[in-house]
């Protein structure tokens, strides 16, 4: 009898890139639902627009580069980039802002660096920073969280759609009626105005730890992140690194001078910290690869988020922190190479 010859191993790998990305998307569902509940349907428009432009950008670039388009589209990576970008944008974002970020993420940050697996920067964060540079005025308008006792106008589907398409509110609405400063802005401004953290927390926007609503989005994001950990889609090193990098300095400073610094709980549950720890920093392509390297990489991101929030001019620092650590990845990888079994321990200062 004749047989076909093949190379070992003769076992089919149980995972593939597409299923990993699908599970990441699935893990984001609780966070999206919480987001819709607290901040309205805006994020759904963001996601839709980002998805459309990311997919178009991906297809276009693959075609231009002469690669198979269907392969790239079926790996779901462009969708993950789109959803993460949408998460970072305010619930009210005009479509061209989202589209710019999506195209920059895919075309420039991903494909001009060689496509999947070769991009040194996290595409979603690169797209966000591009938008931040191009349209800073659109990134400050956050709707207020839907809490019973807050006096504000909750925008419906059509009003949100109208804003997304035209970039303006209907005549009967003003930005003051629909939007509120984010907790991070409140704390930054408050601390800069010499108010204590305790005083700032008395603001009705502030909850037990972070801002009201934000805390719950954080919880739901963490549920998805925990599920990814259980599914072994991500490993614990980067999330723990990020959270430690954020909580250690904020904890120490809060412990020393509780009035002058926001609490670690506030930092954890504000802005994109949890999303970053579980979903953004864990993008494998642009992260460090060894386990020790990933701890260092995550910790660096956490530290930078804290530093930017505390001393920088931006309210949140996730995007810059991630991009800066992306730059450090080659060095981290080089310095944290594990010792090969059977090799002597490398001395410090000897060439790798």
């Amino acid at each position: 009898m004749e047989f076909e010859r093949r190379e070992a191993p003769f076992v089919t790998p149980p995972t593939d890139v597409a299923s990993i990305m699908q599970q990441v998307l699935l893990a984001l569902v609780p966070a999206v639902l919480a987001y819709v509940w607290y901040f309205g349907v805006g994020i759904l428009f963001n996601i839709g627009i980002a998805v459309i432009f990311c997919v178009l950008g991906e297809a276009f670039m693959m075609r231009v580069r002469g690669r198979p388009v269907d392969v790239a589209l079926s790996d779901y990576t462009a969708l993950v980039t789109a959803v993460l970008l949408a998460f970072c944008l305010p619930p009210l974002t005009p479509w061209w802002v989202t589209a710019t970020g999506a195209l920059f993420a895919i075309v420039v940050a991903k494909h001009l660096y060689g496509g999947l697996g070769f991009n040194i920067f996290n595409p979603a964060m690169a797209g966000y920073v591009a938008v931040m540079a191009a349209f800073p005025m659109y990134l400050n308008i956050w709707t207020a969280p839907r809490m019973g006792d807050l006096d504000y106008y909750y925008m419906g589907f059509y009003e949100t759609a109208r804003y997304v398409i035209t970039g303006s509110l209907p005549d009967y609405l003003s930005f003051d009626a629909v939007s509120r400063a984010t907790p991070l802005d409140l704390v930054k401004a408050g601390l800069n105005n010499m108010r204590t953290f305790g005083e700032i927390q008395a603001n009705p926007m502030m909850g037990d730890f972070g801002g009201r609503g934000w805390e719950w989005i954080g919880n739901f994001t963490a549920i998805g992140g925990g599920w990814l950990l259980l599914q072994k889609i991500i490993r614990w090193h980067i999330p723990v690194g990020v959270l430690a990098g954020l909580l250690v300095p904020s904890g120490i400073l809060y412990f020393l001078e509780p009035g002058l610094h926001a609490s670690p709980g506030f930092h954890l549950f504000s802005g994109g910290a949890i999303l970053c720890a579980f979903f953004i920093a864990t993008d494998p392509v642009s992260a460090a690869t060894s386990t020790r390297g990933r701890l260092v990489y995550g910790f660096g991101i956490g530290l930078l988020i804290y530093a930017i929030r505390r001393w920088g001019s931006y309210a949140d620092g996730v995007a810059f922190a991630v991009l800066l650590m992306n730059l450090a990845v080659p060095a981290i990888d080089k310095l944290t190479r594990p010792r090969i079994v059977g090799h002597p321990k490398r001395r410090r200062g000897t060439p790798a």
Partner: protein
């Protein structure tokens, strides 16, 4: 009897694979009828192929030496049954590359007459270790775990270093394979006695029998055999079931917590590893006078009807072996020698069973692995690598053919276990790529050696040409001087003579 102990060293990474062994362990080891023809490759071991010492047409007896060692690392081959040598010719065999290799082909007479053993076998205890090693060499014993390194040479090499432990490897970590498990269940005493023989050949007093915790029957029968032998030098060690803990260096690390240095051997850390099947074969040869002419092999997979273990003569065509396991099912599509992780596929079933054949795995059509995607640097490969390599970096450098980086990132330390392949979400055939890169590195080294030889030859030639030219110049000068000394008349005469023959006298090239 010593209680089983869990031990202690830790292996990096590894995988818990579905064992798939129950398929073939439900029935006892089956013996099989003699085949009509035995095909015995001359190269059934690592090293130089054996050198045939019988002629075509000659009759041979079971156990008769038919090919002797040739070179420093080699092993002899014995006839597995009685019959007539009909050919010594290339025949399909299992190899990574290429299909055929020279084989001695014996037509069996069906009588299975054994050769007369001659004198009484000496008790191994009375032999000095060196003589015992020589005797083991004559039995054609090689490592039966699949690596087929000649056992005697391994022993001789190992005793050059101070040794502490002999490890008998009963860790059969690859899925599907169960021949060592069954051997331990049914021939535990043979294995332990083989351990005693090997200890004597090594001059040491410590032998660990290492078995995985998922083999309760084997553990049990070894326990009984240990009690029967009552030899305190033999110790049973139980280890957790993790692939690839049965690799030689991995086993040493797991049991003794010592790391075999890169490029070194277990004897560098005072250990020597032998497969349990090898120990049993050593016992049968040294104590019973039967050279290595048969082995237990697992015939399994969803491509055979009735998976089982078979005690088969070396040289039996695999088609016959499969017949013992109920023949093929309709789904049979791939035949692999060895396990699914490290085995080699063969293109047809006329390939003979050889000393290395621990498993014949017949599988149905494998689901396509899917398209190979770019590496997403997820790092799972590095998590599971038992040698703590960074396969994703190695892959990168293998693509770039960067030999220096490949070396510094430890390509030569790769044991080709296939763990990285299995966890790669991008379905990159990492192990195959590394195998190729290693091949290229060897080629490059060969090429360098060739280039060096060519350079030396070239320089030698230049030197020779220079020397010849100098000599000729000297000769010409001498002739000229002679002519000048002879005077102008003589020169004129010489020129005329030269012109007459149509050749200038003072130019020669």
């Amino acid at each position: 009897m010593t209680a089983p102990t869990y031990d202690l060293g830790k292996l990096h990474g590894g995988l818990r694979l579905p064992a798939e062994k129950d398929r073939s362990t439900s029935t006892a080891i089956r013996s099989m009828p003699l085949p009509e023809q035995l095909i015995l490759p001359l190269a059934q071991h690592v090293g130089e192929p054996a050198h045939p010492i019988i002629g075509i047409g000659e009759r041979v007896l079971k156990g008769q030496l038919i090919a002797e060692t040739d070179g420093i690392i080699s092993a002899p081959i014995h006839a597995s049954s009685s019959g007539k040598v009909v050919a010594i010719e290339p025949w399909p065999v299992s190899r990574r590359r290429g299909d055929k290799a020279p084989c001695i082909i014996i037509e069996c007479d069906g009588e299975d007459r054994a050769i007369d053993p001659g004198d009484q076998l000496p008790a191994y205890q009375d032999l000095p270790p060196e003589d015992l090693q020589q005797r083991i060499l004559q039995g054609g014993i090689v490592g039966l775990g699949g690596a087929v390194f000649p056992t005697a040479q391994k022993l001789m090499q190992a005793v050059t270093a101070p040794l502490d432990h002999l490890l008998l490897n009963g860790v059969e970590c690859e899925p599907y394979i169960s021949c060592d498990d069954m051997l331990m269940r049914e021939y535990a005493l043979d294995i332990l006695k083989g351990g005693q023989v090997l200890m004597h050949a090594l001059g040491i007093d410590s032998c660990y029998l290492v078995v995985e915790s998922d083999k309760p029957e084997a553990l049990n029968s070894i326990g009984i055999a240990l009690a029967e032998l009552d030899d305190s030098r033999l110790v049973l060690k139980q280890v957790p079931t993790i692939y690839p803990s049965g690799g030689e260096d991995q086993l040493v690390q797991l049991v003794t917590n010592r790391e075999v240095p890169s490029g070194g051997l277990p004897s560098d850390v005072g250990c020597i590893v032998q497969n349990v099947g090898t120990a049993a074969a050593a016992h049968r040869w040294i104590n019973m006078g039967e050279p290595l002419i048969s082995r237990v092999t697992t015939v399994t997979g969803d491509g055979v009807a009735d998976p089982c273990n078979v005690l088969a003569r070396l040289g039996t065509p695999l088609a016959e072996v499969v017949r013992v396991a109920g023949g093929y099912t309709e789904r049979a599509a791939t035949m692999v020698i060895g396990g699914p992780m490290c085995g080699k596929s063969v293109s047809n079933d006329q390939v003979p069973l050889v000393k290395a054949t621990n498993c014949v795995l017949v599988m149905s059509e494998l689901p396509s692995a899917g398209r190979e995607m770019p590496c997403i640097r997820c790092g799972e490969c590095a998590e599971v690598c038992p040698v703590q390599l960074l396969p994703q970096q190695l892959f990168w450098y293998a693509c770039a053919d960067d030999e220096e980086k490949l070396r510094s990132f430890g390509l030569t330390d790769c044991i080709e276990c296939g763990c990285c392949d299995l966890v790669c979400p991008s379905h990159i055939p990492l192990t195959a790529d590394f195998r190729k890169a290693k091949g290229r590195m060897r080629e490059l080294a060969d090429e360098k050696a060739r280039a060096e030889r060519a350079r030396q030859r070239f320089e030698a030639r230049n030197e020779r040409v220079r020397r010849e030219r100098l000599e000729r110049d000297r000769e010409l000068a001498a002739q000229k001087q002679a002519a000048l000394d002879a005077g102008p008349e003589a020169i004129k005469e010489m020129l005329e003579r030269a012109q007459a023959s149509g050749k200038p006298a003072d130019e020669d090239d």
